[in-house]
Structure formats: C-alpha cells, structure tokens
C-alpha cells in the first residue's frame, strides 16, 4: 500500500512538474494558443495605447504651450489627484473634440506619441492643427 502511494506520488509529481515547465514554453515560445496552458506574461498588454500629449495655442503669431491637464480633468469631472490618461485613437479624438469645446474659436496644435508594443513611443499626431 505504501509502495503504491509512493508510486502514485512519483507519477503525480512528474506530471504536474512537466505541466508547470512545459505549459509556458508552449504558450510563449511555440505560440500555442491553448487556454489549458498558462503563459506568464504579466502586464505585457498594460499601458499599450496610452499617449503622451503636448498641446499648443496660437497667439501673437507664435505657438505657446497650453497646460490642459487641470481644465480637461475639470471638464470630465475627474478628481484632481487622478491621472489624465488618454488611450487609443478614440481617446485622442475625444480629447480634440473636448479641447474645442473648452477653447472655442482658437487655433490649437497637438503633438501625440502613442505607446506601442514594438516601436516604443510612436508619433501619431505631429503638430496637428485643430481649428475650433
């Protein structure tokens, strides 16, 4: 009986250890798309699509930096101690619409870099002019 238990223990150990070792290899190296195995790619998709944004306002024939953080937070009713994170193209489009509401009849210029998986911060709006 003890011997049988010992053999069962060996068997379970080997099977479970192989599962632990091989599962991520299948998912992360061989790209096997099977949910039975778990990949350990924590946070690998987090942050993708977020933007770094700079907005300028036209005045006196020159472009001046515009501090939009507080006004957009106020417009969206986001608490001041929360970050204003603009993600993906629709987030950027929405921001541009909101800027026109906040700054009517103004000429604005926006530069935006988007967080991408391979290319790092990728320029998606290069001094793009918004006529409000």
């Amino acid at each position: 009986m003890t011997n049988q238990l010992g053999q069962l223990r060996y068997f379970i150990f080997i099977v479970v250890a192989c599962f632990i070792l091989i599962g991520p290899f299948l998912r992360q190296v061989l790209d096997v798309n099977n949910i039975l195995f778990r990949q350990w790619t924590m946070f690998s998709q987090i942050g993708l699509g977020v933007h770094k944004i700079n907005v300028k306002k036209s005045g006196d024939g020159q472009w001046h930096n515009l501090e939009i953080d507080a006004v957009v937070k106020a417009y969206r009713m986001i608490p001041a101690d929360k970050p204003l994170s603009i993600s993906h193209q629709d987030g950027l489009d929405r921001l541009m619409e909101e800027l026109c509401v906040i700054y009517p009849n103004q000429l604005l210029q926006i530069t935006a870099h988007r967080a991408t998986l391979i290319g790092g911060w990728t320029l998606v709006a290069d001094r793009q002019t918004i006529i409000c």
């Binding site: 223990r9 632990i20 992360q28 990949q39 946070f43 942050g47 977020v50 770094k52 970050p83």
Partner: protein
C-alpha cells in the same frame, strides 16, 4: 551524473518535515481567494441558478479549506470551483476579469496546496486526530509529513519568474520605455512633461526587475543564496503590490515563499 540525479530525486521526493508551512499556505490562500471573489460571488450579486450554485460551492468549499476539515478534498474542491470559474465562466460565458494570471495562480495554487499535508496543522482534521489519540491514550500525532507538494509550489514560483523575465527580455523593456508606459498610465497622465531623470529612473527600475526575476528563477534553488534572495523577492512583490494594480498576484507569490523557506524554520518560528 548518477549522484546528481540522486540529489534531484531526493530534493523532489525525500523532503519531509513540519506541516505548518503547508497549513499557513492553505489558510493564506483562502483569505486571498475571498479577497478576490467573495464580494463578486455574494448571493445578491447574481440572481440566477448557475451563479447561486457557484456561490454555494465557492463559500462552502473555501470555508472547509480554511478550517481544515477533510482538508485534501475541500482544497481540491476549491481548486475545481476556481478552475470552473476560470475556464467556463470566464472563457466560456465571458465574465470579465476572471481569466487573469492572478486568478489562475489562485486556482492552481489551491490544486498544488491539495498535494501538501496542509490538514495536519492548524485544522479541524488535526483537532479530531488529537482528540482521538487522547481517547485511545496513544501518542499525540506529529505535525509531520512528506512535503513534495511544497517542492512543486517552489518549482512553480521559479518557473513563473523565469517566464516573466523571458517576456521582458527585449529592447523596449530594457530601455525603460515599457516602464514609462506604466508611469504615464497610472501616475503622471498623458500631459506629463518628462524631467531629465525620468527615463534613467525607468530604465533602472526595468533592469532591476528583469535581473531580479532571472536571478530568483535559478537562485532560489540554492540553499546558500535563499536567505539573501528571499527578502529581495518579497520586497519586489511588495513594491508591485503597492505601486501597480496587481490584485492578489503579489501576495500569492509572497505566500509561495513559504514553500522555499525550510519547513523546520517555519515550525520553529511558529512554536
């Protein structure tokens, strides 16, 4: 070669000792599982038969696991319930948030915990055994067992570190840019104007995490490095827990360190 294999064999199967660390893992796991799901699975949250049955299974099995009654069976039951949630409810029915790595880790850790003698300490099972031995005037049952299940938990922890580090082994991580994404998303916001030290700091943090994960993946197997590496590993998870929305992931990993620390030392500490 044969002596090396004998050592691996002994490491895997000839590890016996105090069962208290297994029991603490069991109890800690239940609290983490409740922290993650108890709110979502309260009966008023979903008024349908399948969720009602799921909630009954969840609360009954986790309670039995916590108090340690029929421990091996109740722990397996918990694991089965959590995997049902992971595969069927999340991937099958589309419940969001139940298929993350931290939820898988809780389900998988419950399964691995069922392979340890977790019911031999701090449990109703032990209380019943002690009472039985007192009645029959036989010696007190020892809190002692074969701890091969703890080896699997330790293996899982190291494999997790290796593949997490492997996933980060590419230029964008090493350059600190991926770390910048997290900083912008969670802290500074999209209008952040980077000071000169921002990228060097992010690069430094990224390198520390990458190197530490690789070192932990291999170093934890060596007893002489454990006392040095364990505090670093725990500190890294504490930092993740405090700085990023990692849910129960970090605390589960910290709990897994009980499988790395020698069972004798845990017993002495709790004595």
């Amino acid at each position: 070669m044969s002596s090396y294999l004998a050592r691996v064999n002994a490491w895997c199967f000839d590890y016996s000792g105090s069962t208290r660390s297994s029991a603490i893992i069991r109890i800690g796991l239940v609290f983490l599982i409740w922290a993650r799901w108890a709110g979502e699975l309260s009966f008023f949250q979903h008024l349908s038969l399948n969720y009602f049955l799921l909630s009954v299974s969840f609360f009954l099995s986790t309670t039995l696991m916590l108090v340690g009654y029929k421990t091996r069976i109740s722990t397996l039951w918990v694991s089965a319930t959590l995997f049902l949630m992971y595969f069927h409810f999340s991937y099958g029915l589309g419940v969001s948030g139940w298929n993350h790595h931290h939820t898988y880790l809780l389900a998988w850790m419950s399964f691995l915990s069922a392979l340890t003698p977790a019911g031999k300490s701090y449990s109703v099972d032990r209380k019943l055994l002690v009472r039985e031995s007192a009645l029959s005037q036989s010696p007190m049952p020892p809190e002692y067992g074969n701890l091969w299940g703890l080896r699997l938990i330790m293996l899982q922890l190291c494999v997790l570190y290796f593949w997490a580090a492997f996933d980060k082994s590419y230029p964008l991580w090493v350059s600190g840019v991926r770390m910048e994404y997290y900083a912008v998303l969670f802290y500074f916001g999209s209008t952040f104007v980077e000071p000169w030290w921002f990228n060097p700091l992010m690069r430094g943090l990224a390198l520390v995490v990458l190197v530490l994960e690789y070192v932990l993946a291999f170093g934890l197997f060596f007893k002489r490095f454990q006392s040095l590496l364990i505090p670093f590993g725990i500190a890294m998870h504490a930092a993740f827990f405090l700085l990023l929305p990692v849910h129960t992931y970090s605390l589960t990993c910290i709990l897994m360190y009980l499988a790395v620390i020698e069972a004798r030392k845990v017993h002495e500490f709790t004595e």
